[in-house]
Protein backbone atom coordinates (compact mmCIF):
# COMPACT_ATOMS: atom_id res chain seq x y z
CA UNK A 1 0.00 0.00 0.00
CA UNK A 2 2.89 2.33 0.81
CA UNK A 3 4.12 1.86 -2.74
CA UNK A 4 0.86 3.18 -4.15
CA UNK A 5 1.03 6.39 -2.10
CA UNK A 6 4.65 6.80 -3.11
CA UNK A 7 3.52 6.31 -6.70
CA UNK A 8 0.85 8.97 -6.44
CA UNK A 9 3.35 11.33 -4.86
CA UNK A 10 5.83 10.59 -7.64
CA UNK A 11 3.16 11.27 -10.26
CA UNK A 12 2.36 14.67 -8.72
CA UNK A 13 6.02 15.56 -8.43
CA UNK A 14 6.62 14.67 -12.09
CA UNK A 15 3.63 16.67 -13.30
CA UNK A 16 4.09 19.75 -11.11
CA UNK A 17 7.77 20.13 -11.94
CA UNK A 18 6.91 19.47 -15.63
CA UNK A 19 9.80 17.01 -15.73
CA UNK A 20 11.47 17.40 -19.15
CA UNK A 21 11.84 13.66 -19.71
CA UNK A 22 8.25 13.05 -18.70
CA UNK A 23 6.95 15.67 -21.12
CA UNK A 24 9.08 14.20 -23.88
CA UNK A 25 7.99 10.60 -23.44
CA UNK A 26 4.35 11.57 -22.89
CA UNK A 27 4.33 13.55 -26.13
CA UNK A 28 5.97 10.65 -27.92
CA UNK A 29 3.34 8.28 -26.54
CA UNK A 30 0.64 10.57 -27.89
CA UNK A 31 2.40 11.09 -31.19
CA UNK A 32 2.85 7.37 -31.84
CA UNK A 33 -0.61 6.37 -30.70
CA UNK A 34 -2.49 9.19 -32.44
CA UNK A 35 -0.59 8.60 -35.70
CA UNK A 36 -1.43 4.90 -35.47
CA UNK A 37 -5.04 5.77 -34.67
CA UNK A 38 -5.44 8.08 -37.67
CA UNK A 39 -4.01 5.49 -40.06
CA UNK A 40 -5.98 2.64 -38.50
CA UNK A 41 -9.23 4.65 -38.66
CA UNK A 42 -8.60 5.52 -42.30
CA UNK A 43 -8.47 1.80 -43.03
CA UNK A 44 -10.91 0.39 -40.48
CA UNK A 45 -13.88 2.79 -40.64
CA UNK A 46 -14.53 2.36 -44.39
CA UNK A 47 -13.71 -1.36 -44.13
CA UNK A 48 -16.13 -1.96 -41.23
CA UNK A 49 -18.88 0.06 -42.94
CA UNK A 50 -18.31 -1.70 -46.24
CA UNK A 51 -18.66 -5.08 -44.51
CA UNK A 52 -21.96 -3.94 -43.04
CA UNK A 53 -23.58 -2.92 -46.31
CA UNK A 54 -22.03 -5.20 -48.87
CA UNK A 55 -23.02 -8.83 -49.30
CA UNK A 56 -20.39 -11.08 -50.84
CA UNK A 57 -19.43 -14.70 -50.73
CA UNK A 58 -16.94 -14.89 -47.88
CA UNK A 59 -18.37 -12.00 -45.90
CA UNK A 60 -19.07 -14.07 -42.81
CA UNK A 61 -15.59 -15.54 -42.88
CA UNK A 62 -14.01 -12.10 -43.20
CA UNK A 63 -16.06 -10.81 -40.27
CA UNK A 64 -15.22 -13.85 -38.12
CA UNK A 65 -11.52 -13.45 -38.90
CA UNK A 66 -11.71 -9.74 -38.12
CA UNK A 67 -13.34 -10.48 -34.76
CA UNK A 68 -10.72 -13.08 -33.96
CA UNK A 69 -7.93 -10.64 -34.86
CA UNK A 70 -9.20 -8.28 -32.15
CA UNK A 71 -7.37 -10.59 -29.77
CA UNK A 72 -4.06 -10.46 -31.64
CA UNK A 73 -1.28 -10.89 -29.09
CA UNK A 74 0.77 -7.67 -29.32
CA UNK A 75 4.02 -9.44 -28.57
CA UNK A 76 3.53 -11.68 -31.62
CA UNK A 77 2.72 -8.65 -33.79
CA UNK A 78 5.88 -7.04 -32.45
CA UNK A 79 7.99 -10.05 -33.29
CA UNK A 80 6.59 -10.30 -36.83
CA UNK A 81 7.06 -6.58 -37.48
CA UNK A 82 10.57 -6.89 -36.07
CA UNK A 83 11.43 -9.75 -38.44
CA UNK A 84 9.98 -7.84 -41.41
CA UNK A 85 11.79 -4.58 -40.63
CA UNK A 86 15.06 -6.13 -39.48
CA UNK A 87 18.11 -5.34 -41.63
CA UNK A 88 18.10 -8.97 -42.71
CA UNK A 89 14.34 -8.95 -43.30
CA UNK A 90 12.41 -8.04 -46.47
CA UNK A 91 11.97 -4.35 -45.55
CA UNK A 92 15.38 -3.95 -43.91
CA UNK A 93 16.59 -1.42 -46.50
CA UNK A 94 14.07 1.11 -45.23
CA UNK A 95 15.96 1.34 -41.93
CA UNK A 96 12.74 1.66 -39.98
CA UNK A 97 13.51 -0.69 -37.09
CA UNK A 98 13.87 1.04 -33.71
CA UNK A 99 12.13 4.21 -34.93
CA UNK A 100 8.73 5.62 -33.93
CA UNK A 101 7.53 4.64 -37.41
CA UNK A 102 8.07 0.97 -36.61
CA UNK A 103 6.03 1.42 -33.43
CA UNK A 104 3.25 3.08 -35.41
CA UNK A 105 3.18 0.21 -37.91
CA UNK A 106 2.90 -2.36 -35.11
CA UNK A 107 0.09 -0.42 -33.42
CA UNK A 108 -1.83 0.00 -36.67
CA UNK A 109 -1.79 -3.78 -37.09
CA UNK A 110 -2.96 -4.29 -33.52
CA UNK A 111 -5.84 -1.81 -33.46
CA UNK A 112 -7.20 -1.91 -37.03
CA UNK A 113 -9.16 -5.18 -36.52
CA UNK A 114 -10.56 -3.86 -33.24
CA UNK A 115 -11.80 -0.59 -34.78
CA UNK A 116 -13.12 -2.37 -37.88
CA UNK A 117 -15.06 -4.89 -35.78
CA UNK A 118 -16.67 -2.29 -33.55
CA UNK A 119 -17.45 -0.19 -36.63
CA UNK A 120 -19.04 -3.14 -38.36
CA UNK A 121 -21.29 -3.87 -35.39
CA UNK A 122 -22.48 -0.28 -35.14
CA UNK A 123 -22.92 0.17 -38.86
CA UNK A 124 -24.92 -3.02 -39.24
CA UNK A 125 -27.64 -1.62 -37.01
CA UNK A 126 -27.58 1.75 -38.70
CA UNK A 127 -27.69 0.15 -42.13
CA UNK A 128 -30.83 -1.76 -41.20
CA UNK A 129 -32.43 1.59 -40.53
CA UNK A 130 -31.08 3.42 -43.59
CA UNK A 131 -31.32 0.55 -46.04
CA UNK A 132 -34.63 1.40 -47.71
CA UNK A 133 -33.97 5.10 -47.83
CA UNK A 134 -30.52 4.82 -49.37
CA UNK A 135 -31.61 2.18 -51.87
CA UNK A 136 -34.66 4.24 -52.92
CA UNK A 137 -32.47 7.29 -53.46
CA UNK A 138 -30.43 5.17 -55.85
CA UNK A 139 -27.15 5.98 -54.08
CA UNK A 140 -23.81 4.49 -55.09
CA UNK A 141 -21.63 2.33 -52.83
CA UNK A 142 -19.31 5.18 -51.91
CA UNK A 143 -22.21 7.48 -51.10
CA UNK A 144 -23.74 4.84 -48.84
CA UNK A 145 -20.47 4.27 -46.98
CA UNK A 146 -20.04 8.03 -46.70
CA UNK A 147 -23.57 8.63 -45.40
CA UNK A 148 -23.32 5.86 -42.82
CA UNK A 149 -19.93 7.06 -41.57
CA UNK A 150 -21.23 10.62 -41.29
CA UNK A 151 -24.45 9.70 -39.51
CA UNK A 152 -22.87 7.04 -37.33
CA UNK A 153 -20.00 9.23 -36.23
CA UNK A 154 -20.82 8.91 -32.57
CA UNK A 155 -20.53 5.10 -32.64
CA UNK A 156 -17.38 5.47 -34.69
CA UNK A 157 -15.96 7.73 -32.02
CA UNK A 158 -16.41 4.89 -29.57
CA UNK A 159 -14.64 2.56 -31.97
CA UNK A 160 -11.76 4.99 -32.32
CA UNK A 161 -11.50 5.49 -28.56
CA UNK A 162 -11.38 1.74 -28.05
CA UNK A 163 -8.50 1.62 -30.50
CA UNK A 164 -6.79 4.52 -28.76
CA UNK A 165 -7.13 2.76 -25.42
CA UNK A 166 -5.59 -0.43 -26.66
CA UNK A 167 -2.73 1.38 -28.41
CA UNK A 168 -1.73 3.84 -25.67
CA UNK A 169 -1.42 1.12 -23.05
CA UNK A 170 0.39 -1.35 -25.27
CA UNK A 171 3.92 -2.38 -24.34
CA UNK A 172 4.77 -5.82 -25.75
CA UNK A 173 4.99 -4.93 -29.43
CA UNK A 174 6.53 -1.48 -29.18
CA UNK A 175 9.19 -2.74 -26.78
CA UNK A 176 10.37 -5.17 -29.48
CA UNK A 177 10.15 -2.91 -32.54
CA UNK A 178 10.98 0.37 -30.80
CA UNK A 179 13.68 -0.88 -28.48
CA UNK A 180 12.88 1.63 -25.69
CA UNK A 181 15.77 3.89 -26.76
CA UNK A 182 16.04 6.99 -24.60
CA UNK A 183 15.13 10.18 -26.50
CA UNK A 184 14.23 8.12 -29.58
CA UNK A 185 11.59 5.51 -28.95
CA UNK A 186 10.95 5.55 -25.22
CA UNK A 187 7.26 6.00 -24.45
CA UNK A 188 5.29 5.87 -21.21
CA UNK A 189 4.60 2.13 -21.23
CA UNK A 190 8.17 1.08 -22.01
CA UNK A 191 9.48 3.54 -19.43
CA UNK A 192 7.19 1.91 -16.86
CA UNK A 193 8.56 -1.52 -17.77
CA UNK A 194 12.09 -0.16 -17.42
CA UNK A 195 11.54 1.40 -14.01
CA UNK A 196 9.80 -1.76 -12.78
CA UNK A 197 12.90 -3.67 -13.87
CA UNK A 198 15.03 -1.33 -11.82
CA UNK A 199 12.85 -1.99 -8.81
CA UNK A 200 11.85 1.69 -8.64
CA UNK A 201 8.15 1.00 -8.12
CA UNK A 202 7.33 4.56 -7.04
CA UNK A 203 8.56 6.09 -10.28
CA UNK A 204 7.02 3.26 -12.33
CA UNK A 205 3.66 3.80 -10.65
CA UNK A 206 4.01 7.55 -11.00
CA UNK A 207 4.47 7.13 -14.75
CA UNK A 208 1.53 4.73 -14.72
CA UNK A 209 -0.74 7.33 -13.16
CA UNK A 210 0.42 9.88 -15.70
CA UNK A 211 -0.49 7.40 -18.45
CA UNK A 212 -3.94 6.85 -17.00
CA UNK A 213 -4.47 10.59 -16.64
CA UNK A 214 -3.40 11.10 -20.24
CA UNK A 215 -5.86 8.48 -21.50
CA UNK A 216 -8.63 10.05 -19.42
CA UNK A 217 -7.81 13.52 -20.69
CA UNK A 218 -7.94 12.43 -24.31
CA UNK A 219 -11.26 10.66 -23.77
CA UNK A 220 -12.80 13.59 -21.92
CA UNK A 221 -11.55 16.07 -24.51
CA UNK A 222 -13.03 13.98 -27.30
CA UNK A 223 -16.39 13.76 -25.59
CA UNK A 224 -16.41 17.43 -24.79
CA UNK A 225 -15.45 18.53 -28.29
CA UNK A 226 -17.93 16.08 -29.82
CA UNK A 227 -20.60 17.14 -27.31
CA UNK A 228 -21.50 13.49 -26.81
CA UNK A 229 -24.35 12.69 -24.46
CA UNK A 230 -25.71 16.23 -24.67
CA UNK A 231 -27.93 16.48 -27.72
CA UNK A 232 -29.58 14.41 -30.46
CA UNK A 233 -29.02 10.76 -30.97
CA UNK A 234 -26.60 10.72 -33.86
Amino acid sequence: MGDIWAGIAAAFRLIITADADLVEISLRSLQVTLSALVIACAIALPLGTFLAIQRFRYRRTVIAVLNALMGLPPVVVGLIVYILLSRSGPFGVLGLLFTPTAMIIAQVIIITPLIASVTHQAMRDLWAEYHDLLISLNTGKLQRVGTLILDGRRSLLTAALAGFGRAIGEVGAIMIVGGNIEHQTRVLTTAIALETGRGDFALALGLGFVLIALALAVNLATHYLGRTESEGRW
Binding site: S35, I39, A42, I43, S86, R87, S88, G89, G92, V93, L94, G95, L96, L97, F98, T99, P100, T101, G179, N180, I181, E182, H183, Q184, L194, T196, G197, R198, G199, D200, F201
Partner: protein, 267 residues
Protein backbone atom coordinates in the same frame (compact mmCIF):
# COMPACT_ATOMS: atom_id res chain seq x y z
CA UNK B 1 -4.05 6.97 -48.71
CA UNK B 2 -1.14 4.76 -49.72
CA UNK B 3 0.63 7.82 -51.06
CA UNK B 4 0.15 9.65 -47.79
CA UNK B 5 1.47 6.68 -45.88
CA UNK B 6 4.50 6.44 -48.15
CA UNK B 7 5.29 10.13 -47.67
CA UNK B 8 4.86 9.78 -43.96
CA UNK B 9 7.14 6.75 -43.75
CA UNK B 10 9.87 8.36 -45.81
CA UNK B 11 9.77 11.46 -43.61
CA UNK B 12 10.26 9.36 -40.53
CA UNK B 13 13.11 7.44 -42.15
CA UNK B 14 15.05 10.61 -42.96
CA UNK B 15 14.70 11.82 -39.39
CA UNK B 16 17.38 9.36 -38.29
CA UNK B 17 20.48 11.29 -37.31
CA UNK B 18 23.74 10.97 -39.16
CA UNK B 19 25.98 10.49 -36.14
CA UNK B 20 23.81 8.07 -34.23
CA UNK B 21 25.14 4.69 -33.25
CA UNK B 22 22.92 1.86 -32.08
CA UNK B 23 24.57 -0.17 -29.35
CA UNK B 24 22.99 -3.30 -27.92
CA UNK B 25 23.90 -3.63 -24.26
CA UNK B 26 22.91 -6.04 -21.54
CA UNK B 27 20.32 -5.23 -18.92
CA UNK B 28 22.94 -5.58 -16.21
CA UNK B 29 25.02 -2.80 -17.82
CA UNK B 30 22.03 -0.49 -18.13
CA UNK B 31 20.70 -1.20 -14.65
CA UNK B 32 24.09 -0.38 -13.14
CA UNK B 33 23.62 3.28 -14.05
CA UNK B 34 27.06 3.49 -15.66
CA UNK B 35 25.49 4.27 -19.04
CA UNK B 36 24.17 7.56 -17.70
CA UNK B 37 27.74 8.57 -16.87
CA UNK B 38 29.40 7.35 -20.06
CA UNK B 39 26.91 8.44 -22.74
CA UNK B 40 27.08 12.21 -22.09
CA UNK B 41 30.89 12.01 -22.00
CA UNK B 42 30.92 10.09 -25.29
CA UNK B 43 28.65 12.67 -26.90
CA UNK B 44 30.89 15.45 -25.61
CA UNK B 45 34.21 13.94 -26.74
CA UNK B 46 33.28 12.30 -30.04
CA UNK B 47 29.92 13.78 -31.05
CA UNK B 48 28.46 10.28 -31.29
CA UNK B 49 24.87 9.93 -30.14
CA UNK B 50 24.87 6.42 -28.70
CA UNK B 51 21.40 4.88 -28.69
CA UNK B 52 21.17 2.01 -26.26
CA UNK B 53 19.07 -1.08 -26.89
CA UNK B 54 18.80 -2.81 -23.58
CA UNK B 55 18.36 -6.55 -24.06
CA UNK B 56 19.79 -9.83 -22.80
CA UNK B 57 23.09 -11.05 -24.21
CA UNK B 58 21.28 -13.65 -26.33
CA UNK B 59 19.10 -11.03 -27.99
CA UNK B 60 22.01 -8.59 -28.30
CA UNK B 61 23.93 -11.18 -30.31
CA UNK B 62 20.86 -11.80 -32.49
CA UNK B 63 20.47 -8.07 -33.15
CA UNK B 64 24.14 -7.96 -34.14
CA UNK B 65 23.79 -10.97 -36.44
CA UNK B 66 20.83 -9.34 -38.15
CA UNK B 67 22.72 -6.06 -38.58
CA UNK B 68 20.10 -4.15 -36.61
CA UNK B 69 22.69 -2.58 -34.32
CA UNK B 70 26.13 -1.14 -35.06
CA UNK B 71 27.96 -2.67 -32.11
CA UNK B 72 27.31 -4.77 -29.02
CA UNK B 73 28.61 -4.62 -25.46
CA UNK B 74 27.97 -7.92 -23.72
CA UNK B 75 29.46 -10.38 -21.25
CA UNK B 76 29.55 -13.99 -22.34
CA UNK B 77 32.96 -14.87 -23.73
CA UNK B 78 32.15 -18.18 -25.45
CA UNK B 79 29.17 -16.68 -27.30
CA UNK B 80 31.21 -13.59 -28.22
CA UNK B 81 34.03 -15.68 -29.67
CA UNK B 82 31.51 -17.67 -31.71
CA UNK B 83 29.94 -14.39 -32.92
CA UNK B 84 33.29 -13.07 -34.13
CA UNK B 85 34.37 -16.44 -35.57
CA UNK B 86 31.17 -16.58 -37.62
CA UNK B 87 32.11 -13.26 -39.20
CA UNK B 88 29.35 -11.15 -37.61
CA UNK B 89 31.75 -8.96 -35.66
CA UNK B 90 35.14 -7.42 -36.43
CA UNK B 91 36.95 -8.33 -33.25
CA UNK B 92 36.32 -8.54 -29.54
CA UNK B 93 37.77 -5.92 -27.23
CA UNK B 94 37.69 -6.41 -23.49
CA UNK B 95 36.63 -3.20 -21.77
CA UNK B 96 36.00 -3.79 -18.10
CA UNK B 97 34.74 -6.31 -15.60
CA UNK B 98 32.50 -6.40 -12.61
CA UNK B 99 31.53 -9.42 -10.55
CA UNK B 100 28.55 -11.60 -9.88
CA UNK B 101 27.24 -12.02 -6.38
CA UNK B 102 24.84 -14.45 -4.74
CA UNK B 103 21.80 -12.78 -3.24
CA UNK B 104 19.39 -14.47 -0.89
CA UNK B 105 17.07 -14.06 2.08
CA UNK B 106 18.75 -12.33 4.99
CA UNK B 107 18.38 -15.30 7.36
CA UNK B 108 20.25 -17.45 4.80
CA UNK B 109 18.73 -20.91 5.38
CA UNK B 110 21.34 -22.63 3.19
CA UNK B 111 24.13 -20.81 5.04
CA UNK B 112 25.90 -19.87 1.82
CA UNK B 113 27.68 -16.93 3.42
CA UNK B 114 29.94 -19.49 5.11
CA UNK B 115 30.77 -21.24 1.82
CA UNK B 116 34.34 -21.20 0.48
CA UNK B 117 33.52 -21.15 -3.21
CA UNK B 118 30.59 -20.22 -5.42
CA UNK B 119 30.21 -23.91 -6.29
CA UNK B 120 29.92 -24.88 -2.63
CA UNK B 121 27.33 -22.16 -2.08
CA UNK B 122 25.17 -23.39 -4.97
CA UNK B 123 25.57 -26.98 -3.79
CA UNK B 124 24.26 -25.97 -0.36
CA UNK B 125 21.22 -24.31 -1.98
CA UNK B 126 20.53 -27.39 -4.13
CA UNK B 127 20.87 -29.77 -1.19
CA UNK B 128 18.44 -27.78 0.90
CA UNK B 129 16.21 -27.27 -2.15
CA UNK B 130 15.88 -23.65 -1.12
CA UNK B 131 14.01 -21.53 -3.70
CA UNK B 132 16.36 -20.28 -6.39
CA UNK B 133 15.35 -17.82 -9.12
CA UNK B 134 17.14 -18.24 -12.41
CA UNK B 135 17.12 -15.60 -15.14
CA UNK B 136 16.36 -18.33 -17.67
CA UNK B 137 16.64 -15.88 -20.58
CA UNK B 138 19.91 -16.92 -22.19
CA UNK B 139 21.53 -13.70 -20.97
CA UNK B 140 25.17 -13.46 -19.93
CA UNK B 141 24.16 -13.75 -16.29
CA UNK B 142 22.06 -16.81 -17.03
CA UNK B 143 24.88 -18.44 -18.99
CA UNK B 144 27.25 -17.81 -16.10
CA UNK B 145 24.77 -19.41 -13.71
CA UNK B 146 24.39 -22.46 -15.96
CA UNK B 147 28.16 -22.84 -16.18
CA UNK B 148 28.41 -22.68 -12.38
CA UNK B 149 25.82 -25.45 -12.01
CA UNK B 150 27.50 -27.67 -14.56
CA UNK B 151 30.84 -26.95 -12.87
CA UNK B 152 29.61 -28.72 -9.73
CA UNK B 153 27.85 -31.48 -11.67
CA UNK B 154 24.32 -30.52 -10.70
CA UNK B 155 21.49 -30.26 -13.20
CA UNK B 156 19.08 -28.03 -11.28
CA UNK B 157 15.41 -28.82 -11.60
CA UNK B 158 12.33 -29.29 -9.49
CA UNK B 159 10.02 -27.01 -7.61
CA UNK B 160 12.75 -25.04 -5.89
CA UNK B 161 14.47 -24.01 -9.15
CA UNK B 162 12.47 -21.26 -10.83
CA UNK B 163 13.56 -19.88 -14.21
CA UNK B 164 11.60 -16.68 -14.79
CA UNK B 165 12.77 -15.75 -18.29
CA UNK B 166 13.14 -12.09 -17.44
CA UNK B 167 15.76 -9.34 -17.17
CA UNK B 168 17.93 -8.79 -14.12
CA UNK B 169 15.61 -6.31 -12.45
CA UNK B 170 12.46 -8.34 -13.01
CA UNK B 171 14.21 -11.47 -11.75
CA UNK B 172 15.37 -9.62 -8.63
CA UNK B 173 11.79 -8.45 -8.07
CA UNK B 174 10.66 -12.06 -8.27
CA UNK B 175 13.37 -13.26 -5.88
CA UNK B 176 12.47 -10.45 -3.50
CA UNK B 177 8.82 -11.47 -3.64
CA UNK B 178 9.43 -15.15 -2.87
CA UNK B 179 12.49 -14.82 -0.63
CA UNK B 180 14.62 -16.83 -3.03
CA UNK B 181 18.33 -17.06 -3.81
CA UNK B 182 19.53 -15.54 -7.07
CA UNK B 183 22.73 -14.88 -8.95
CA UNK B 184 23.02 -11.20 -9.87
CA UNK B 185 25.71 -8.84 -11.00
CA UNK B 186 26.92 -6.51 -8.29
CA UNK B 187 26.01 -3.34 -10.16
CA UNK B 188 22.37 -4.28 -10.70
CA UNK B 189 22.11 -5.37 -7.08
CA UNK B 190 23.47 -2.11 -5.67
CA UNK B 191 21.20 -0.08 -7.91
CA UNK B 192 18.15 -2.20 -7.17
CA UNK B 193 15.60 -0.31 -5.11
CA UNK B 194 13.20 -3.09 -4.08
CA UNK B 195 15.60 -5.12 -1.91
CA UNK B 196 13.01 -6.25 0.62
CA UNK B 197 14.43 -9.04 2.80
CA UNK B 198 17.21 -9.86 0.37
CA UNK B 199 20.88 -9.42 1.20
CA UNK B 200 24.21 -9.96 -0.52
CA UNK B 201 25.41 -13.28 0.91
CA UNK B 202 28.35 -14.45 -1.13
CA UNK B 203 30.93 -12.81 -3.39
CA UNK B 204 34.62 -12.75 -4.16
CA UNK B 205 35.22 -16.12 -5.83
CA UNK B 206 37.32 -15.36 -8.97
CA UNK B 207 35.02 -17.63 -10.98
CA UNK B 208 32.36 -14.94 -10.52
CA UNK B 209 34.26 -12.26 -12.43
CA UNK B 210 32.22 -10.87 -15.28
CA UNK B 211 34.13 -9.59 -18.29
CA UNK B 212 32.43 -7.07 -20.59
CA UNK B 213 33.57 -6.94 -24.19
CA UNK B 214 32.77 -4.60 -27.08
CA UNK B 215 32.28 -5.94 -30.61
CA UNK B 216 31.59 -3.76 -33.68
CA UNK B 217 29.23 -5.46 -36.14
CA UNK B 218 30.98 -6.40 -39.37
CA UNK B 219 30.26 -4.06 -42.31
CA UNK B 220 31.01 -6.93 -44.70
CA UNK B 221 27.86 -8.73 -43.65
CA UNK B 222 25.76 -5.60 -43.29
CA UNK B 223 27.00 -2.59 -45.28
CA UNK B 224 24.41 -0.40 -43.59
CA UNK B 225 26.03 -0.50 -40.14
CA UNK B 226 27.90 2.58 -38.93
CA UNK B 227 31.24 0.82 -38.71
CA UNK B 228 33.39 3.98 -38.63
CA UNK B 229 31.46 5.27 -35.66
CA UNK B 230 31.68 1.88 -33.98
CA UNK B 231 35.48 1.94 -34.34
CA UNK B 232 35.61 5.51 -33.07
CA UNK B 233 33.60 4.45 -30.03
CA UNK B 234 35.95 1.52 -29.48
CA UNK B 235 38.84 3.97 -29.39
CA UNK B 236 37.05 6.04 -26.79
CA UNK B 237 36.03 3.05 -24.66
CA UNK B 238 39.62 1.86 -24.43
CA UNK B 239 40.98 5.35 -23.78
CA UNK B 240 41.94 7.28 -20.63
CA UNK B 241 38.65 9.18 -20.26
CA UNK B 242 36.70 5.91 -20.20
CA UNK B 243 39.13 4.47 -17.66
CA UNK B 244 38.72 7.46 -15.39
CA UNK B 245 34.92 7.36 -15.56
CA UNK B 246 34.56 3.58 -15.25
CA UNK B 247 37.00 3.21 -12.35
CA UNK B 248 35.56 6.28 -10.69
CA UNK B 249 31.95 5.13 -10.79
CA UNK B 250 30.75 4.15 -7.33
CA UNK B 251 27.49 3.45 -5.56
CA UNK B 252 27.42 3.66 -1.77
CA UNK B 253 31.18 3.99 -1.84
CA UNK B 254 31.65 0.71 -3.72
CA UNK B 255 33.47 0.64 -7.03
CA UNK B 256 31.34 -1.31 -9.50
CA UNK B 257 33.48 -1.81 -12.56
CA UNK B 258 37.18 -2.27 -13.11
CA UNK B 259 38.57 -0.98 -16.39
CA UNK B 260 40.90 -3.55 -18.01
CA UNK B 261 41.08 -2.66 -21.70
CA UNK B 262 44.47 -3.00 -23.32
CA UNK B 263 45.81 0.42 -24.37
CA UNK B 264 44.59 1.23 -27.86
CA UNK B 265 47.04 0.21 -30.57
CA UNK B 266 48.91 3.23 -31.97
CA UNK B 267 47.50 4.61 -35.21
Amino acid sequence: MKLLLAIFLSCCATLAQADALKLAVTTSFQNSGLAEVLLPAIAEDTGIDVQLLVVGTGQALRLGEAGDVDAILVHSKAAEDAFVAAGYGTGRTEIMYNDFVLIGPEDDPADISAADTAGAALRAIAELQAPFVSRGDDSGTHRKEVSLWSGIGIDPGGDWYRPVGAGMGAALNTASGMGAYILADRASWLNFANKGDLALLFSGDPVLFNQYAYIPVSPERHPSVAHDLALQLKGWLTGPRAQELIDGYTIDGQQLFTFNAAPAAPG
